[in-house]
């Protein structure tokens, strides 16, 4: 039994693998060009792709490319991404693809037929559909043709427009065309050209300003690149932004400089990432008014109109919905339709809906208007043909399309419409509120300058804080002086105490040392300069110059000389003599300090 269960389990586990091995690979081969219609000298992007799910791609060929030497291959890129997916019950699924991208620049006009591209997967051949590339003679682009902005290398080698060249990385804004009519589409593409190995996740672009344009962005979902030659070097060109812009006024409009930041490096421990920032250049677009004479409400594009009523009979007072759809190439948000007044029918404001698509570099879409028509009188009501005028760029002429006349019949007596949809009486009605009386007297002032803007206000405002600062500075200086004085007094007292201790200890040498130090310190504090070491004659001159009276000067000199003498003949000094010296010194110091206070 156990063996049976084990066998069954192994059989179930290997079944998906066996199924996978036996399954046919899913293969898709595509051959596409963007655009398929170009002019001589313009670039087109030819893409050959094979995608295989579950098989091994052996080969991918497009033999017809070699047949046409008139198609100059500007760049060639091959991508071989491979994916594995794991699904419950299906084992490991391998998905691989090969994509060859050629940027071609035709040199001769004509029609180029490409046979199917052939891919060989697991020994079996698969084919794409054929492709026709139409090359028109060189001439002015009317805006109705190819998506020129998609070819970054079209003019790079010849003239590096819309870019500030940098040999490491630079931004380029490609605007096509750069001379348009009001409302005509301008394709704006921002490329990052770089020779650096950037990290795609770190790329942070910022959009250029497009004042004066109505802009529809084609979102860039993944960062794709191509290799293009610029100034003899090969760059990777990434599309950062792709927009369709519609100028809203004539004159020269400017597309602002784009910005981007990205990281390079950081791929190994020894390769520190580096942030790179680049700014592009502004690009001008010349916008012309539409040719005159022409209908005033014409827009640029190519449109068709459809109109219908949701029913052709209704009770009087009931609503009938009129819908008009304008579909075509261009910016449908520019479209305006005015429904003329209908006799016996009340028309409510229309609901407007837009649907827009951006495909192959062109914006197209549908604008729908829905009017609610309320028949107020019985009978047949007719909606006249509605015209839409547009300027067709392909033929450079104004054209008009119109809807057929539409009718509906209302029957029955008129019933009063609910108040919610009664027509708005826009005439102002005076309210019952009273607003008077008016004022008979006025100073007729001329908007006096507010006090805060008067010149003196700032000065007056600054005065108290400035005064405060000055007071604080003064107080600080006084405090500093007092502190210094207090320190000097403390030293003085310390010296006097030391002298008294020496006196008690009957140590004449030390006592007279302190006496000299006390007098010298008192003089230092008074004069602000050290006087120790000065000869007595110079000290006398200095003290006289400082304004000390002669008696004090004489006493100071006498005491210093006596102390000096006694220090070196200390054995003959009595204690009484030292006591008298201390008293004389105290008196001298007091006089020196008094003299300081006096000055």
């Amino acid at each position: 039994m156990i063996r049976l269960v084990t066998f069954a389990f192994l059989a179930m586990a290997t079944l998906p693998w066996a199924a996978t091995a036996r399954a046919e690979p899913e293969v898709t081969v595509t051959l596409d060009a963007t655009p398929t219609e170009v002019r001589v000298g313009e670039a087109t992007r030819l893409e050959v792709r094979v995608r295989a799910r579950g098989g091994r791609i052996q080969n991918l060929e497009l033999n017809d490319l070699k047949k046409y030497p008139e198609l100059e291959i500007v760049s060639h890129q091959t991508m071989r991404p491979m994916q594995f997916s794991f699904g419950f019950g299906s084992g490991v699924q391998k998905e691989s693809s090969i994509t060859n991208i050629f940027v071609l620049r035709p040199t001769v006009a004509g029609t180029y037929e490409f046979g199917p591209a052939v891919a060989k997967v697991d020994g079996k051949s698969y084919r794409s559909t054929p492709l026709t590339l139409v090359v028109l003679p060189a001439g002015r682009d009317t805006g109705g043709g190819a998506d020129q902005a998609a070819a970054p290398d079209a003019t790079v080698d010849a003239e590096l427009t819309g870019a500030r060249y940098d040999e490491r990385a630079f931004l380029r804004t490609v605007v096509e065309p750069d001379e348009v009519y009001i409302g005509q589409q301008v394709n704006v593409t921002v490329y990052l050209y770089t020779r650096l190995r950037l990290s795609p996740q770190s790329v942070i672009p910022s959009k250029p300003s497009m004042d004066g344009f109505w802009v529809h962005d084609d979102p860039i979902t993944s960062l794709q690149s191509e290799t293009v030659p610029v100034m003899g070097a090969h760059y990777r060109a990434y599309v950062l932004q792709r927009s369709a812009a519609f100028p809203q006024r004539s004159g020269e409009l400017t597309i602002g400089p784009p910005n981007v930041t990205f990281d390079v490096g950081g791929r190994s421990l020894f390769d520190a990432p580096q942030r790179v920032q680049r700014e592009g250049v502004p690009v001008a677009v010349n916008v012309n008014p539409l040719p005159q004479p022409g209908p005033a409400d014409a827009v640029v594009g190519r449109y068709t109109l459809q109109a219908w009523l949701d029913r052709t009979t209704a009770d009087t007072g009931d609503a009938v919905t009129l819908r008009i759809d304008a579909t075509g190439l261009g910016n449908v948000q520019d479209l305006r339709i005015n429904l003329p007044p209908l006799v016996g029918v009340r028309t409510l404001q229309p609901a407007i809906r837009d649907q827009q698509h951006f495909q192959r570099g062109k914006l197209s879409g549908t604008r729908s208007w829905e009017w609610i028509l309320i028949a107020e009188t019985p009978g047949e009501h007719t909606v006249p043909p509605i015209e839409l005028h547009f300027f067709d760029l392909d033929i450079e002429e104004y054209r008009a399309v119109s809807t057929p006349a539409l009718s509906f019949t209302s029957s029955g007596s008129a019933k009063r419409a609910p108040p919610a949809i009664e027509p708005v009486d826009t005439r102002p009605k005076p309210s019952a509120a009273t607003f008077g009386p008016i004022r008979m007297y006025s100073a007729l002032t001329r908007g006096e300058t507010p006090m805060r803007d008067q010149g003196w206000f700032a000065w007056l405002l600054a005065f108290p804080p400035v005064l405060f600062l000055l007071v604080m500075l003064g107080a600080g200086a006084a405090r500093h002086r007092e502190q210094r004085s207090a320190t000097a007094g403390a030293v003085q007292r310390q010296l006097v105490r030391s002298a008294e201790n020496a006196l008690q200890a009957n140590d004449p040498r030390s006592f007279y040392d302190r006496i000299v130090a006390s007098i010298t310190h008192a003089l230092d504090s008074r004069l602000g300069d050290p006087v120790a070491g000065l000869p007595h004659a110079k000290l006398r001159t200095r003290l006289v110059a400082e304004g000390f009276d002669d008696d004090l000067v004489q006493r100071v000199i006498n005491e210093l000389e006596g102390a000096d003498f006694a220090r070196f003949a200390a054995s003959g000094v009595s204690k009484d003599e030292m006591e008298r010296c201390r008293q004389r010194t105290a008196a001298i110091i007091e006089r020196i300090e008094r003299s300081r206070k006096k000055t």
Binding site: P430, A433, L444
Partner: protein, 269 residues
């Protein structure tokens, strides 16, 4: 003889001085005349005539709260409540404590809401919801400036005394804190009045439906609308278009003719 010359000079000097200021003398007389004519027209119920004359005064540079009050009243009595609201706001900006102007402003807003509600079922005018505006609404700029000067002086005197005085008392600290609070309050008030907390000058929507577009062009896509009497701020300008931000955050471009600026300093309307 010299005395005669002096007497003659004293007699002639004032006459000459008066002759040198003819514009001023006649200007005052003319402006007063226009004001009186406007008042007479308003009293007779000729609101259009009164509005024309009051506007002549404002266009001549008169930014007087009484003139704006009378202009607003004439607009209100003629049923143009949006312009009445604009001019009552202007009068209140110049004279915030004008209770009659406040009362009339509320009445004009109510009348506009009632008229719109009759047609649409409900209506509400978007007024400024700023707390700072509400706090300082009743205080004039000059009153705040004077209070700020006094508080500034008291604060720094108290601070100086606290810092350098030898005897510090409790009331001194109280004075310091209270004058500091008043100083901050006045400084913030002056900032609010000067528009430092706003992104642009205050405005009132004048047309019944002011369509707010994505760009400064009538063909640009509409984002929404402001209704007559709605308050907002002008955050940008481009030729004849202004970017209006209404008080609930909606913003868009609209022709400047449909919007009135409350602060006369900005000089668009």
């Amino acid at each position: 003889m010299r005395a005669w010359y002096v007497a003659l000079a004293l007699l002639v000097a004032p006459v000459g001085a008066a002759a040198q200021q003819p514009g001023r003398a006649s200007g005052v007389s003319s402006l007063t005349g226009i004001f009186k004519a406007a008042n007479v027209a308003a009293s007779r119920g000729d609101h259009a005539g009164a509005i024309v004359n009051y506007r002549k005064l404002t266009e001549a540079g008169i930014h007087d709260p009484d003139v704006y009050f009378n202009l607003a009243t004439s607009f209100a009595q003629s049923g143009d409540y949006a312009r009445a609201i604009l001019n009552y706001e202007r009068a209140l900006t110049l004279h915030p404590n004008d209770s009659k102007a406040s009362e009339n402003l509320r009445a004009a807003e109510k009348a506009l809401e009632e008229r719109r509600a009759e047609v649409e079922g409900e209506a509400m005018i978007r007024r400024s919801s700023s707390i700072s505006d509400a706090i300082y609404r009743g205080l004039s700029e000059d009153a705040l400036a004077i209070a700020m000067l006094v508080a500034n002086l008291v604060f720094f005197l108290a601070l100086t005394w606290t810092a350098v005085g030898r005897r510090r008392k409790g009331w001194l600290y109280g004075l310091l804190v209270s004058s500091g609070v008043v100083l901050l309050f006045c400084a913030l008030g002056l900032g609010v009045k000067a528009g430092l907390l706003r992104d642009g000058p205050r405005a009132v929507a004048l047309d019944d439906r002011v369509i707010l577009h994505e760009g400064p062009d009538p063909r640009a896509q509409a984002r929404g609308e402001a209704r007559a009497g709605d308050r907002g701020q002008i955050v940008d300008r481009d030729r004849d278009f202004v970017k209006l931000r209404v008080v609930r955050g909606l913003e868009g471009w609209t022709p400047s003719s449909g919007v009135g600026l409350i602060d006369p300093d900005h000089g668009v309307h």
